[in-house]
């Protein structure tokens, strides 16, 4: 070993955190397994979770005058629900598994522990957000009362929501419910087995944008912890700064008020006993569950896509140059874009989910004729032709704003009418406060388009082969 190399190796390094490394590698392997299209070994059943700090604000591409329906990632997830048939449940863990680990649930319920009727009676309205099942009114306990805000720990039946990372087989779940003067909200419910994952940290605030509640005493970051935990330590990045905080535990809840540097991404947490000894945890449970959930949805969506009978309108396929590229491996254009025709089993989950009919979309999409456009920058989009219109989709695993939750999905813009599609094409704008990216497609007959840039500027494009990915 050369001595300079050796010095570099010794000096510029950091301790390898085995658990983090193992978790990252397992996720990566699972992502690869998805690409390969195989069934991974059980222990590696995880799916890639990108930590994109991308606020996915998808705006109508008004500048190009298109009829564009832009649906946010959250909306995609929301409308995606469909009935699932499940195998018979064999003795899933019941509430007793939770009570055994959360002593606050074991104490007798008092009047103060009961949720107000207005919450109990309208619980179903909350369950879309919390992916929680039926509430057990006797298994609610008041765990924090601060000002006009009350927090309850509550046991709920497992959800059948396909987007829940947990399955009914995981058993009953526990959630934290915040009841305040302006409404009720709840954290994503978790089953007993997830009480070994220290990294599950939730944000809770009254209904509405979380950031607006920050600093008002009504917004909290919290984690439900089992009885042996006396203190937790959280490490996370917020606003570009690494932050480490000690979070005290009270009533099986590690909780802290959310200040300006609240955790918006993954929290790396450690639990400690009374004596200060770290507690061994398995901090990949939620990721494994999310991965399994995504695999289930992927398999189901692939099946639906394979069974589809309809085809894209011939006019659409003819009107756009992009559909003349048929190589699965892709063709590189002079401007660096690569256009490929991915087979069904290589489409990401976010695109596969378009196989289903969705409210508001009046035409079906033909996923066998999808094209992928990759820019040299690494950005990419999918063009989905339909029976009467077409869609442009940008896929990824997104962080959901004001939530530590993440989900695979796609932001998309669709031009629904055949005449509009043939005249204008379609497009979407994706961006954050600092960057904006225009994705779009224009027809051969009208190959020029104008995209609006940040700051009120605009740019006229004549994209080669009718597709563009413009970042500004």
């Amino acid at each position: 070993m050369n001595s300079i190399d050796d010095l570099l190796r010794r000096s510029l390094t950091a301790p390898v955190r085995d658990a983090v490394e193992a978790s990252s590698l397992a996720r990566t392997r699972a992502a690869l397994d998805l690409v390969i299209g195989t069934e991974p070994a059980p222990i590696r059943r995880r799916v890639w979770r990108r930590k994109l700090q991308v606020g996915v604000g998808l705006l109508p591409a008004a500048a190009v005058g298109l009829l564009v329906v832009v649906i946010s990632v959250g909306a995609v997830l929301f409308i995606h629900g469909r009935p699932r048939t499940r195998s018979a449940i064999s003795d899933p863990p019941t509430a007793t598994a939770l009570i055994g680990r959360l002593s606050v649930l074991a104490r007798p319920q008092t009047g103060a522990d009961r949720l107000p009727d207005r919450v109990t009676n309208h619980w179903a309205q909350l369950t879309h957000e919390t992916q929680a099942g039926r509430l057990f009114p006797r298994l609610t306990r008041l765990v924090l009362s601060q000002g006009k805000v009350k927090l309850y720990l509550a046991v709920v039946a497992p959800s059948t929501d396909p987007y829940s990372p947990w399955t009914p087989e995981d058993g009953d779940q526990v959630t934290v419910i915040e009841v305040g003067p302006t409404g009720t909200s709840a954290t994503q419910a978790i089953p007993a087995k997830a009480l070994s994952d220290a990294d599950i940290v939730s944000l809770i605030a009254p209904p509405g944008p979380f950031r607006e509640a920050v600093g008002t005493g009504t917004a909290f970051a919290l984690s439900i912890v089992p009885d042996s935990v006396a203190r937790t330590s959280w490490f996370y990045s917020a606003k570009g700064y690494d932050t480490r905080i000690n979070v005290p535990v009270h009533n099986n809840l590690a909780i802290t008020g959310a200040g300006s540097r609240y955790p918006t991404g993954k929290v790396d947490a450690t639990w400690y006993t009374d004596s200060g000894k770290p507690i061994r945890t398995n901090n990949s449970l939620i990721e494994e569950a999310q991965a399994a959930s995504q695999r289930r949805r992927y398999r189901q969506d692939l099946q639906i896509a394979k069974a589809q009978k309809h085809s894209a309108a011939a006019e659409i396929l003819k009107a756009f140059a992009v559909f003349s590229f048929d190589r699965p491996a892709g063709t590189r254009l002079p401007d660096g874009l690569i256009i490929s025709k991915p087979p069904l089993d290589q489409l990401p989950l976010g695109v596969l989910s378009f196989a289903e009919a969705t409210p508001g979309r009046r035409f079906a999409l033909d996923l066998r004729d999808v094209r992928r456009v990759q820019a040299p920058s690494g950005l990419s989009m999918y063009i989905l032709p339909g029976t009467s219109g077409l869609c442009v989709a940008q896929t990824g695993v997104f962080e959901i704003r004001d939530s530590p939750a993440q989900a695979a999905g796609a932001g998309f813009g669709c031009t629904q009418k055949l005449s509009s599609a043939l005249l204008h094409g379609s497009g979407i704008i994706s961006g954050t406060a600092r960057h904006q990216t225009d994705y779009g497609i224009v027809p051969r007959a009208h190959p020029i388009t104008t995209v609006s840039l940040k700051g009120g500027r605009s740019r006229t494009l004549r994209p080669s082969d009718g597709v563009y990915i413009e970042r500004s």
Partner: protein, 192 residues
């Protein structure tokens, strides 16, 4: 463990894609650690995923004579890193901020670790002085533990070019060390 070489596995994976998983099992950790040193844990996980996805998709075009796929994979990783230069820059700055902090808990020779910690800031500045190619070559050698011939495969360069770039990079780092922190200059010939 599959007795086949990486090359055989990758060729076989063209018709039996599942074979490619073994390539990840063999080299995923090395790639992740290399990337982790360059851009930090979060970005490393991201890029590792991308490395293997690209490698899988390009597997039919693999034309290396090497039995090991590691140089090829590290080459993809290095190319992807160029798109992540901002992340790497932030990482370098983070190292610089931490340069005065020393973790002595590892139990290895404390003098060595103090030297290493003291060297951080100077080394980081030295790395920033290198061209992108020199830095890639040097770090593939130091952190990727590739030989010059393997680096040549990774970066699609001639072996002679790699040797000269490696020589220049080490000389530049050594010269910067000599000027800024002479006590840290390694005893042995830094260029060897």
């Amino acid at each position: 463990m599959d007795p086949r070489s990486d090359r055989e596995l990758i060729r076989g994976s063209v018709t039996s894609p599942t074979l490619f998983g073994e390539v990840f099992d063999r080299h995923g950790r090395v790639i992740f650690r290399y990337l982790r040193r360059r851009v930090g844990e979060d970005a490393a996980a991201d890029i590792t995923s991308e490395v293997f996805t690209r490698a899988f998709r390009d597997r039919s075009r693999l034309s290396t004579a090497n039995d090991s796929a590691l140089p090829w994979l590290l080459g993809i990783a290095t190319n992807l890193l160029r798109m992540e230069h901002r992340t790497e820059y932030r990482r370098v700055r983070a190292y610089a901020r931490a340069a005065h902090q020393t973790d002595l808990s590892d139990g290895v020779n404390i003098d060595d670790r103090l030297d290493a910690a003291a060297a951080r800031g100077v080394l980081l500045t030295a790395l920033e002085l290198l061209s992108v190619r020199q830095r890639d070559v040097l770090l593939l050698s130091a952190w990727g533990e590739l030989s010059p011939a393997e680096i040549a495969v990774a970066l699609s360069l001639r072996p002679g070019t790699v040797r000269s770039e490696l020589h220049r990079a080490r000389a530049r780092v050594a010269s910067h060390l000599a000027a800024q922190a002479p006590h840290l200059v390694p005893d042995q010939d830094p260029i060897a």
